[in-house]
Symmetry: C2
Subunit: 532 residues, 2 copies
């Protein structure tokens, strides 16, 4: 594979690179360079300390307050101990005197809630002789620091563990770093979702955008409307997510500092809804009579809004995140147009023949429902395109000049999430990871304030050709390329040539952790993927 | 996904289709249509018989001769019992009186040797009330029949097992149906190879073309030249195939009626060989002095041929197949051209400046070595292109008008294997399985005798972007599309639209058998892939 600097070859010159990395003494792939995504500031020494699994421990800084433990961190200690020292398990009892302790301190010792859009993920990590300290504003930031720490530890040829003297100050470039999984076009077993959450944490992703339902199937088991999955899922028992499955996913994500953003896409993409909820979808007509097929949600009936309010109320209570994704993409007007009752409604409302006004009418009502539920709405860009007025967060997904669209959205004063360049399910040259790395979300003309409205980006793995058989290799390590773009300083990570060996090294770490990440090019890892 | 008849839409008409299938009564996806690849002749009845795992047995037809068992079949009975009745294991003891027995008879009760290019795979399968009979000329044919039988058994909604009254007469269109795996660009753990052999048997592939070594690494542990892997493998212990690994692969393949064709590609693609065998590769020159880099094998030294003869003698004894693949592709002449000793040899031999003559000189000597070893040589088309004289089997791999090349080869009276249309590692629209289905290896102008020289085809999974993490979903079920092309009657399988649901069904069977086969399009299987 030929890799090169496609943005600005100047970025690859060593001097500029070292300058941009601020201070890195003794560049060494085993150490700071190997952290993926690259931290903001790294000061690294060649001084190294040996770590022994039997005498390594995690601890809380004791003088801060009286609360000395935190369930999220306690669980993370166990996870990361096994990652640091494969084959060993973490025990609070330490067997030896010479202990190396990583001490955690939190500015806000709050371990109860959920991560959200405004959660700080900033952390400082210092590694000295015999100890290390990790300070973060929140528990979510400390999880990011633990991940970084785990990537700093390496083994020499004899199997001994080492870490170098290091100072890191780190924070994400963008607060929203998401991955979308589509569980409607193919059902994904809960295990496949949990495994993805593991891998997301390794790349510091923080939002799982769960595109739960769509045309092909409705796997979400609603307790208010059980027929939606009874009749709309691929199978009413084996191919659904029960309330307990959903709770498990949310809890597993939370333990890794990941939000779960549910999407209930309407009024289009709802074919499967109609199977369990009669009179929800619009009957299509042919030659003046119903054709027997159905189109988008029927926006003219009061019963539609009663149902949606009731369903969204349930969704709002099941999913703790303050955001809900309402979809709103790709609404086909032909069925609405064919239906005489819809046309009569259009006439009554004075919409003329402009069906986008009917769509706007519908979305506005749904957004109002979510507002009453104290949730912030996210919609696909289609909604913004026909209806700039509504206040919501816009996700840009269409190909072409996506930064033109980003610019239009922020000029309208709305916040934006960028997904267009990261459609990883798309067939195409799968090895071309650099295409997902060389994305510059802020490379448009705009004020600083406008640019601050770009809150992040999202990797989308739509389900037409994806299920549990190929999800992991399709996603990893290419999604990690997007992860560095969204976390790291753009100027420090603009050179594909420099990123390539780092990403190869990171991909080997993913394999070692059991993530089925596909190879970038010819080569090998010390520990190959074994679970065939 | 839009599927359609891209060859001849007429083939899709129901009447013609039924005619071509000869006789199929009561078309039913659960039964004969669901066998993949499609058998040559199927006579199917709607009469069905229930099977009970506790009273199902395999048996040998007793009156044929005194030998009543065969280790290849005994092992196959165990495998297929677990495939027929997941969760049950096969025991020779039968618990009930009402036994359904599948009785095997072989025309040649020879279970000792290895399958080869001329082995008959023909079989006849008859399913009646309470029993079934499977007759084949060879044990390899009976394995194909067992596979077909296993695909005829289905479960109803209550979990009961059934098979319909059926008569099948079947044989392959082409005798050579191969899959190439490349273990040099990435090392593939032995388990990944064995799993591929399992899946190959399910699609009736019969040749595992093992592209063992190449530029990046030399994982084959030679007992005569241990330094080749000691110095040329990615790792001398973890990333090699020991003699015992190789024996295991050969034996596992044999039990499934699969040949193992080893490839030792030279004189190009040999960088890794040079690490463990000094003076084998040509030193390249720059400005009159050696540059320190090396090119293809040095064809001017007697030591080269001594080494090759010794290595190939070992290979010929380790691999029982009567064929050896000698490679011969993509030789870069620039290094030869730079070397004054090579140029002097060219002059002495009267080759002028035509380095393809030097290449021909080399290959001819290697082919002679293999002839002495009583092995038939296979080479990539490059060798034929510059050297039509040599008698060997030619594998066509280049893109473009590959049938033009096939025609040239058979006109020269040589046998040919077609690989060009089946490069499955290539990045591209991965869901487009129909591109691998709509291949017509005999669609060139030629005599019947010339066409008979096309002995088959091969799916190539080169290793640049492939390792154990993505091998299975990249290969399956797309390779199965090629499998039907190579096994079944072309006229009965010319319609993509008809093949699509059958291939979807077959892919679900692969999942059920633990093969990580990726989805063709939106949908679900009763048993999804679980081993995440």
């Amino acid at each position: 594979m030929k890799v090169m600097c496609s943005v600005n070859p100047g970025h690859c010159t060593l001097i500029k690179y070292i300058f941009l990395l601020l201070i890195i003494i003794h560049l060494d792939l085993n150490t700071a360079e190997s952290v993926w995504p690259l931290p903001q500031i790294v000061i690294l020494s060649s001084e190294r300390y040996q770590l022994k699994p039997q005498s390594f421990s995690f601890g809380y800084r004791r003088y801060l307050d009286t609360k000395h433990s935190c369930s999220v961190l306690d669980a993370a200690f166990k996870r990361y101990f096994s990652i640091l020292f494969p084959g060993y398990t973490y025990d609070e009892w330490v067997f030896e005197n010479e202990v190396f302790t990583l001490t955690i301190s939190l500015d806000r010792h709050d371990c109860e809630g959920y991560p959200n859009q405004d959660s700080s993920e900033r952390y400082k990590l210092n590694v000295f002789a015999g100890q290390a300290s990790l300070n973060a504003e929140t528990v979510w930031g400390s999880l990011r620091g633990l991940e970084t720490f785990s990537q700093l530890v390496y083994q020499d040829d004899f199997g001994s563990y080492y870490i170098n003297k290091t100072e890191i100050e780190d924070y994400p470039q963008f607060n929203y770093r998401g991955i979308l999984l589509d569980t409607s076009r193919h059902y994904l077993p809960v295990q496949a979702i949990l495994k993805t959450l593991d891998a997301m944490a390794y790349s510091k992703f923080n939002v799982f955008h769960w595109h739960l339902v769509d045309d092909p199937s409705f796997p979400y088991q609603s307790h208010k409307f059980p027929d939606l999955s009874n009749k709309g899922a691929f199978h009413p028992v084996t191919h659904i997510y029960t309330q307990s499955d959903v709770r498990r996913v949310i809890s597993y994500a939370r333990m890794r500092g990941i939000r779960v953003l549910p999407e209930f896409d309407s009024p289009g993409h709802t074919k499967s809804w109609g199977k369990g909820q009669s009179e929800l979808l619009t009957p299509c007509y042919r030659g003046g009579t119903p054709s027997g097929t159905f189109g988008p949600v029927n926006p003219t009936l009061p019963s539609t809004y009663q149902f949606m309010a009731s369903l969204l109320k349930e969704v709002a209570s099941v999913f703790p995140d303050p955001y809900i994704h309402l979809g709103g993409d790709e609404v086909d007007f032909s069925c609405w147009r064919s239906n005489p009752y819809i046309r009569a409604f259009m006439h009554k409302m004075g919409f003329g023949l402009d069906f986008s006004k009917l769509e706007a009418f519908y979305i506005e009502k749904i957004v109002n429902i979510t507002s009453v539920l104290r949730k912030t709405s996210i919609v696909w860009q289609d909604v913004f395109d026909y209806h700039e007025r509504v206040r919501m967060l816009v996700e840009v997904w269409k190909q072409g000049c996506y930064l033109c669209e980003v610019r239009r959205v922020v000029k309208a004063g709305l916040r934006v999430i960028l997904a267009s360049p990261w459609y990883l399910d798309q067939p195409g040259p799968t090895h071309n990871w650099a295409r997902y790395y060389n994305v510059w979300p802020l490379a448009f003309k705009g004020t600083e304030k406008q640019k601050s409205l770009v809150i992040g980006g999202e990797v989308c793995l739509w389900g037409e050709y994806i299920d549990a058989t190929n999800l992991s290799p399709r996603l990893w390590p290419r999604a990690s390329a997007a992860a560095e773009r969204l976390w790291s300083n753009e100027r420090q990570t603009s050179c594909v040539e420099r990123a390539f060996p780092r990403l190869q090294e990171f991909r080997c770490k993913l394999l070692r952790r059991g993530i089925q990440a596909e190879p970038l090019y010819v080569g090998h890892c010390k520990h190959e993927y074994q679970s065939v």
